[in-house]
Subunit: 377 residues, 2 copies
Amino acid sequence: MKIGIAGVGITKFGELWDKSLEDLIVEAATKAIEDSKLTKSKIDALFIGNMLYGKLANQDHLGALATSLLKINCPAFRIEAACASGGLAVHLAIQSILAGSYENVLVIGAEKMTDYPSNEISLGLMGAGSEEERQAGLTFPGLYALIAKAHMQKYGTTKKQLAATAVKNHYHASLNSNAQYPFEISIESVLKSSSIVDPLTLLDSSPITDGAAAIILSKNVKKGDVYIAGSAVSTDSLNLSERQSLTQMQATQDAAKKAYSQAKVTPSEIDLAEVHDCFTIAEILAMEDLGFCKQGEGGKFVESGKTRLEGSLPVNTSGGLKACGHPVGATGVKQILEIAQQLKGLSGKRQVKKAKVGLTQNVGGTGATSVVHILKI
Amino acid sequence: MKIGIAGVGITKFGELWDKSLEDLIVEAATKAIEDSKLTKSKIDALFIGNMLYGKLANQDHLGALATSLLKINCPAFRIEAACASGGLAVHLAIQSILAGSYENVLVIGAEKMTDYPSNEISLGLMGAGSEEERQAGLTFPGLYALIAKAHMQKYGTTKKQLAATAVKNHYHASLNSNAQYPFEISIESVLKSSSIVDPLTLLDSSPITDGAAAIILSKNVKKGDVYIAGSAVSTDSLNLSERQSLTQMQATQDAAKKAYSQAKVTPSEIDLAEVHDCFTIAEILAMEDLGFCKQGEGGKFVESGKTRLEGSLPVNTSGGLKACGHPVGATGVKQILEIAQQLKGLSGKRQVKKAKVGLTQNVGGTGATSVVHILKI
């Protein structure tokens, strides 16, 4: 597989009170089109990942909305898989290029979350999980806290290791002017912040964010272009209680295995990664499930500093979901954009040196959907 | 393009008070899998078209929900484009097969509409249109009434011609035990039924429906299998007021042109069609936009009887959206299923004789999205 990334565009992530979803779509997509130097008539199809706009703003049919806003006349598709909506939009856009149907495809991930009452957002986000979980009164912090507790009990993972993940991601965000929280925090501040659901604190948790990211995928790959060499999706039970294990995400393991095989690389050849750290424990699981360290050693791996910018495998150089922000439908597209910019050497203060191969992992719910992409230059 | 239809399954359409969306998904998909004689492990991916379940029932992430319910372990995608969600799910499933990524793909269209307050349904459906239209107080009957008025003024189309469309579709539905309204009606009863928005009456309008349909698409096409020979999507402005014409759907014309070219057929070679008659005027426009008659002559064409079961080009043998019912996310998949069954000679009392080539047209909103498929045997 060799699908080129011909252009990228991103908005500021954060509480953008003066911007609508429509504004965010136009800003990110216009930047991506300008970056690609393609004329609009060369865009053959549009995919948009979004979870909540139908529910929160009563606006569905976002494919046609986006083509209308951008004044592009092409087939358009909205893809939804909760927080994995963006990653799945990229995967399906790739399929349409591989099929030979479209040459240049615009993929947008976008979410507007901050103009709505917080109970609507909380309820809306629970749509990513199962009815049984909602009826049991579980929330996403609650579900991930169960995962964290199980990991701590089985492997001795510590709260300090969870905190180290957030500290690293805030450090990276401090070097990213588009990040929602571009400042550093300390281990102590994480441990002392409000408990959400034990063992997770406020600073173990990703925020509510507005933002959009866009990329243009292309059949044509020129020398020096970043390209996607692997794209795989896998699913698991929607209900956490039906999984075989609480301490691994089978869907991530399966998707990673397929993506590594497609890209013909092993975990040890990955130079940097963007992973789905909706809560700090999720990044620790990702380290294990993606094969970067052994099962049970994710906490130590993060604590060792290997995944910091100057380490051997920088993870979430954007700041991750934790500190760059998590506009749910945008996240999967933003991850690809971050890796693409890194591989091209355009990441400024947070540039990873000599990176040639990058990976993204985007998760829906508590791991019912996982999508892994591998990028090369 | 040659994508086989390896199996189909459908539920009863109607007010199914005792069935949840989950029940409908399982029933239609299980029937399709049984019909295909494939084991579940041979299903490589799942696509589901649905518009409203996130909004009405707070359940998103329907791809993973469906794989969980069906106990199938495969990549899963929810596609949404208002009432064209089902047709777009089929189009994207085809892309994934053409890409070489998946061999056998289960496509489900499903919608549960009748267990919710009618104001929530009305508001929800307006998510298919533009914010300007909602703010202007327009509803979908209102928008289609504007289209009907314009067509009547420009071409002399009559209320009786609109009514003839509904009468024909109810006649077809009277031969379909899965239809929501399996009984005949008269021209007089349409004209005398409650006015919704002049010139459209209650019996010019498709109903609120629960239902699901599923098909299995396959790379492998055996002799005697029905296959998809053309699949094309096109978009237009979301806002009706920004269209070049009120009396044509440009997106349908564009999608049809591409699909005819892919399938190497002309409109005159189509033996039967399922079109998007959300209101009677929409079927009249479809006749023109698909090239079955000249612009402006759709009313006369329907009135002539040519599109009745015994006519030269039977249209909406299922009963159409009007009388078979319109569970919005299911409609695009049901249309393909109806044509596939007809081409295989399995349509019983409503069988079209010697049909070899069929067409489906599925519309989102007032024509911001249109998707056309052409099937052959």
